[in-house]
Symmetry: C2
């Protein structure tokens, strides 16, 4: 086991670092006043400070279920929702209870998922495209993927691709872990129906980290009731339950505020930051090729003939951070790719940081 | 894997249940106003809602280190403290990083530890006394124990026993996980020096759940710096970090309040409840034999010739809950023991509940 490169970068950064590295939401967009008010209300009830049930508090589970039914057209009841302490924990408890020798993941894939699966001593295998997925899915593996604004690649599966994946899954019966961390960060507000909605051996993972605030560590798993009941075993073994207070703060927030209005603000801001960063990249880092993302928090692309791992070390010495593509490949293959986060830097720092990177190539 | 019997009992209880089962602190003693104020102060800083470092926030680590140095005479610096999401998680990340085939535990032992170790697929072995411990410690196992007000047994290791255990450990070099969940709940305020203070291959586990509030899910591991750095790997894999807001609330609480004064209130209240329950037990459940505990949250004893597992089911039907001794033995041996929690029932309910138990024998 080794430390996640991204967490190491975050630890190595200081207040002077221009960081395009982490996946930090922009704190200036946090609905601070609303969360302060929600916190006051939650703390009016002393049970917010007591132990609570492993499955999570019912009022919050009901609200999340309603989001599925109303916003994703994916009919869901409260007993199909398990509250977790974020997606990292969700990976762990699902893999623990529905264990296979191998986990099959997208190439490239979210580093946090790779390290969670490594910690579980799972053999990791990767697929490059849907026909590769079809070949590699077998009775010894589970499937992990992000359907929307995939981290780091930013791609989404089209409706046609979703149908193809559903058909492959139905023929093979594997468990699917569908990570929807960025789904609500669609710039135009459109969200395609989750693959999980058409495939019942599935776990659909959500989190309040990207749509609201990450510091409360509250996420969830959506699965059929029978699966949720099984997941309670590793959930309670690993932390008894997710913070009662934090669940109640989020519940109060959702009770008294319109999450959609907040999402509109974030989507608009992130889209503008993305457009500005893409302009900077085209202007100052001409050799970097990329597709414009339609949501999420990253721009991902290639710098031909450049070892981006070495470049990342060099720019970090000049107080600029990005994540080289290599760390998103479970097999640590050499890569000329880069992931740039655009949500957490000022426009001025984007220009400055990208110019510094350019000067070091 | 099966669900923890205690969590199942907690799920089976309703508002009419007289519960001597869980290990719930008494919510009426929570310093609610102080936590409300701490929460307001924490939320004045927007970073309370953002991601933070895997090791925990420095101000809180410093305060916990100071508690070791000043209150336990166990010199500690902030980089010897890792913040966790409670002791369940501490068991997991230590066992993951310092893995042995087997974990050796006290008979009987804390159910949450047994289920966390089970979830890790560790072979569990138990020891009955210190000479048994000496025989069973070997190069293939780690040692887990509670030195103070052991859950469920309520016993403490004397100074002499601590020296014996330290000498055994020094001759065999095993890793020690010393769980100090109840140490600060000493009725007379005296706390013996941790075994870990004289043995460096050790992890000393603490939690704010029993001394302050459990609903925030904040605990810690104290170990040498080199160990803490290794523990960061599974910690960040499993939940990135413990809730930033909750760490800051506890930090603000400690900054502005005297934890010792609060502990005096809890100790005094719990001691009185323990004395009252022990009177009820002697009066209404004459066959139940037990030693008076010197701290913690439980009374533990025997009912000769009674299968307490069967009794527990029967009394639960009459809306009274306790935990039968059997569940604290990893090998599920038959037991005539019972653990009664005294911190979370009114005096009236103690009389009523114990009378109901008595009537069903």
């Amino acid at each position: 086991m080794k430390r996640s490169y991204i967490r190491e970068i975050l630890d190595a950064t200081n207040e002077n670092t221009i960081s395009f590295a982490g996946g930090l939401p922009n704190a200036s967009l946090f609905p601070l006043k609303e969360i302060q008010a929600a916190s006051v209300r939650a703390l009016n009830d002393i049970s917010s400070l007591q132990y609570s049930k492993s499955c999570g508090i019912i009022a919050l589970r009901e609200k999340i279920a309603k989001m599925y039914t109303e916003k994703l057209d994916f009919k869901t009841s409260a007993d199909e929702i398990l509250i977790t302490t974020g997606s990292q924990q969700s990976f762990f408890i699902i893999s623990k209870m529905f264990k296979k020798e191998e986990i099959l993941i997208q190439n490239p894939s979210y580093v946090g998922a790779i390290s969670a699966f490594n910690t579980l001593d799972l053999r990791i295998n990767g697929f490059d495209n849907i026909s590769d997925l079809k070949n590699k899915l077998n009775s010894n593996n589970n499937l992990y993927l992000m359907s929307d604004f995939q981290n780091p690649h930013t791609s989404i599966y089209t409706d046609k691709e979703r149908v193809d994946i559903i058909n492959i899954l139905k023929s093979k019966k594997n468990y699917l872990i569908e990570d929807a961390a960025y789904s609500y960060l669609s710039f135009d507000g459109n969200i395609l129906k989750p693959i999980s909605s058409e495939y019942e051996n599935s776990f659909h993972l959500g989190s309040f980290s990207k749509v609201l605030v990450p510091g409360l560590r509250v996420g969830w798993i959506r699965a059929k009731k029978e699966f949720i009941n099984k997941l309670l075993i590793p959930k309670e073994a690993i932390d008894l339950h997710t913070s009662t207070l934090n669940q109640m703060i989020i519940n109060e927030y959702l009770e008294n505020n319109d999450l959609d209005s907040h999402l509109k603000i974030i989507r608009n801001d992130y889209k503008n930051r993305m457009l500005f960063m893409s302009k900077c990249l085209k202007k100052y880092l001409k050799d970097f090729t990329f597709d414009l993302p339609k949501g999420g928090m990253f721009i991902y692309g290639q710098l031909n003939n450049i070892n981006t791992m070495e470049l990342a070390q060099k720019v970090l010495e000049k107080d600029v951070a990005f994540v080289p593509g290599e760390v998103f490949y479970f097999d640590n293959r050499k890569s000329n790719e880069i992931r740039f986060n655009f949500t957490n830097s000022s426009y001025k720092d984007m220009i400055k940081g990208i110019k510094i990177i350019s000067s070091l190539i």
